[in-house]
């Protein structure tokens, strides 16, 4: 798969929900090649070496030569991103990783996002709809003001504090949705904190649904050379897969999280 290390140009930065930003970058090489579920590894410094390592971000949406990153500010790197201004250059390495598998024989995609795990879904949903799949989008957050539903019309919402939509976790909402509706040939796509993903994976196993996860984790290189991002495999053979090159998308049956 072709990848580039290249300078993108900031088009805009927008706060789309409380503390959650969308950074739009012009980057023709990467925008043209990215598929849903892939990520870019973003350099967070220019002259000084602080913070040293790039940070991985899912490509949230692509339109022409532009791509969007969706993030919340949790540390130095994301603070750096949140202070970029139109015209600034941002060094990207990408597109990286294995895209979501959307060509299987399922008919209905259930998208489950926890917090900023929503990041890859705008692009995924557009691709699923183009492929003629029915899509049900479930978004969870701590509070209603943190629901990032831009480009995700008609999403069902769950909040921990009950301030918007369903009162509970996105996994609770998923169970309620599945119990109430007959869903034709479903496949789950889930992204969020690993502890949420492990609950989703267990639920999928119990009810026998196919389920694909987008994992997060520490990365140094993002391109398979440092061996820094292992995830335990559940199958014969190698003990670990690499999140950056074998993933970040994995069928929930293939990994132990």
């Amino acid at each position: 798969m072709k990848r580039f290390q290249t300078m993108s140009v900031v088009i805009s930065l927008e706060e789309i929900a409380e503390g959650i930003y969308v950074l739009t970058l012009e980057c023709p090489e990467i925008a043209k090649l990215t598929e849903p579920g892939q990520f870019v590894n973003v350099r967070m410094h220019d002259a000084h070496s602080e913070p040293l390592l790039r940070r991985p971000f899912s490509v949230s949406f692509v339109e022409g030569d532009r791509l969007e990153l969706l993030f919340n500010v949790i540390g130095t790197g994301t603070r750096f991103l949140s202070t970029r201004r139109p015209g600034d250059a941002v060094d990207l390495l990408g597109p990286l990783g294995v895209p979501f598998h959307i060509d299987d024989t399922f008919e209905t995609a259930l998208l489950l996002a926890g917090g900023v795990g929503v990041a890859p879904f705008p692009m995924l949903r557009a691709a699923l709809e183009r492929a003629g799949k029915k899509v049900i989008t479930l978004l969870g957050a701590r509070s209603g003001v943190q629901i990032a539903d831009r480009r995700l019309n008609n999403a069902y919402v769950a909040t921990d504090d009950g301030s918007r939509g369903f009162h509970g976790s996105v996994v609770d909402l998923f169970h309620a949705t599945v119990a109430r509706n007959a869903i034709l040939r479903p496949k789950i796509f889930a992204c969020g904190p690993n502890r949420m993903l492990s609950v989703v994976a267990a639920a999928a196993r119990t009810i026998g649904m196919d389920c694909e996860l987008s994992l997060e984790g520490e990365m140094a290189c993002g391109i398979g050379i440092c061996q820094g991002c292992p995830v335990e495999r559940s199958r014969e053979g190698r003990k670990y897969a690499l999140v950056c090159t074998d993933g970040p998308t994995f069928n929930s049956r293939d990994v132990v999280i």
Partner: protein, 315 residues
């Protein structure tokens, strides 16, 4: 002005003095779309052992100020898969291939090297006696001068190619180890491997690496690495590969000035895959603009009074 960038080690000529360090460039075929390895002096492969190794459980990396800790645990494909799957690609490159070997017994080092000797396309060996992240081998060899000498003595008769011993900085005097491996027939030493380090997550009160401690690399270690190379260069007459936190041509030149005959770029490959080639070009540019016709003339040309350094008390 044309500048000579090449140098010889044993019978092997290297086109320039910039290499990529073991464990930071895979086996060359994972990153060649982002950087042209043919512009490097050489590639040092990820450490190879006789059998594949799974490596340590996650978390394996933690970022620290201007550096990173790793606890990969020598995850590698094993020498047989390397020969079958990776060597054919490496043979197509114009650059030199140094295979790095890590093992948990003296016999394993010998077996891996002897097997590699039967295959074309390898120009030298770097022996890792200094991995801080494995219980068997690794530091238990590299911090013991007799074991380090023994490994070198046993490997020397097995090959006519350059034999480079990669030393750990986690000892009091690296120069003692450099002298021992020189006496045992090594052609060069690599200084430095990572430093044992640690980071703690105060929220969870747990170490940030699964193995508690790990190896520190990156710009944070450059001053230490420079002092170590200086120490070895001043006390032992042996070619040195300077390693540790190199991100720019100036960083690399610092290493040459204090006495390294060549350098290896490590952690920087993760951040800026094209950096090593720019460093090689930058060194030639520096020589040229200073009227120096051979990069080799920079080696050890530091204008310094050793007596002004505390190092002289044990040199």
């Amino acid at each position: 002005m044309t500048v000579k960038t090449s140098f010889m080690l044993r019978h092997v000529e290297f086109q320039n003095r910039v290499f990529v360090a073991s464990g930071t460039f895979g086996y060359g075929d994972e990153i060649n779309d982002l950087v042209d390895p043919n512009k490097l002096g050489g590639i040092v492969t990820k450490s190879l052992s006789w059998k594949p190794r799974d490596g340590n459980p996650p978390r394996r990396i933690a970022e620290t100020p201007s550096g990173m800790l790793n606890s990969i645990g020598l995850a590698n494909i094993g020498v047989h898969t390397f020969i079958e799957k990776k060597l054919p690609f490496l043979r197509t490159l114009k650059t030199r291939i140094i295979v790095n070997i890590a093992a948990s017994s003296v016999q394993e080092y010998c077996d891996v090297l002897a097997l590699l000797e039967r295959h074309d396309g390898i120009h030298g060996y770097e022996i890792n006696v200094s991995c801080p992240n494995v219980k068997e081998g690794g530091l238990s060899f590299g911090t013991n001068v007799d074991r380090t000498r023994e490994i070198t003595e046993r490997l020397r008769p097995l090959t006519e190619k350059p034999l480079i011993i990669k030393l750990t900085p986690n000892v009091t005097h690296m120069s003692e180890f450099a002298r021992a491996v020189k006496d045992a027939g090594a052609d060069a030493v690599s200084c430095i491997n990572t430093l044992v380090g640690m980071a703690v997550d105060v929220r969870t009160r747990t170490p940030r690496l699964s193995t508690v401690t790990g190896g520190l690399s990156g710009p944070a270690i450059k001053p230490i690495a420079l002092a170590k190379v200086f120490e070895v260069a001043k006390s032992v007459d042996i070619p040195i590969f300077g390693i540790g936190g190199i991100t720019t041509a100036d960083d690399a030149i610092e290493f040459l000035l204090v006495g390294a005959c060549a350098v290896q770029v490590g952690t920087t490959n993760f951040v800026d895959p094209g950096a090593s080639v720019r460093i090689a070009e930058g060194i030639a540019g520096y020589a040229s603009s200073n009227g120096i016709d051979d990069v080799g003339k920079l080696v050890g040309s530091l204008k310094a009074d050793v007596k002004a350094s505390v190092l002289q008390t044990w040199l």
